[in-house]
Symmetry: C2
Subunit: 112 residues, 2 copies
């Protein structure tokens, strides 16, 4: 079983955060985690038809960018937003992106 | 000569903006344009050794994401940041990203 990689706060890069959140599905996942924290992997899936491997890859990118924390619970992962860590690293950035997502019709549908 | 594509405000997407700014060199260009507006292409180049074609591609991505406006001046392009347009589309987003860039050591060097 591969280890779950979580960068410490000082290793979170702006490049990594922006890249991770530039994907509509990953942004939808983050919005869902903000609204319903500590959900299992499937429960946060904005698109139920997405292959599990694709979804897992999205969660891996979010995790390795320092945006979410995942822990194994049986056969699933419970995921939480690293909101405090991101706020400490880049104050105001996550909120600004989530507010922009709410203003972007392209982003509104999958997460709402 | 290929036309320069500039999306109107309503066509600027969050995905496009985040993707464009997730590249350190493009972010450095934007920071330079913020500090020294209306510069020609070469004058905004944070890395003088970069091939012209690579630099042009960075400017194209920024332009087509709605982040900069380019106009031809002889054999060069003069580029300006579409700060007001971005602020109207996604209030606070560009400032939050630029502030984060200033806090990110990885980003500090090329633009300073």
């Amino acid at each position: 079983m591969r280890p779950l990689i979580h960068p410490d706060i000082s290793s979170i890069t702006l490049h990594g955060v922006l890249h991770a959140l530039s994907d509509p599905m990953r942004l939808a996942i983050v919005r869902r985690l903000r609204d319903c924290p500590d959900q299992a992997c499937n429960a946060t899936m904005p698109c139920p038809d997405m292959p599990k491997s694709t979804l897992s890859n999205h969660f891996r990118i979010l995790r390795e960018a320092g945006i979410i924390c995942s822990r194994r619970e049986g056969t699933q992962h419970a995921n939480t937003l690293r909101r405090d860590d991101l706020e400490a690293r880049f104050p105001g950035l996550l909120d600004a992106i989530l507010q922009a997502a709410a203003a972007d019709p392209e982003r509104r549908s999958p997460a709402s």
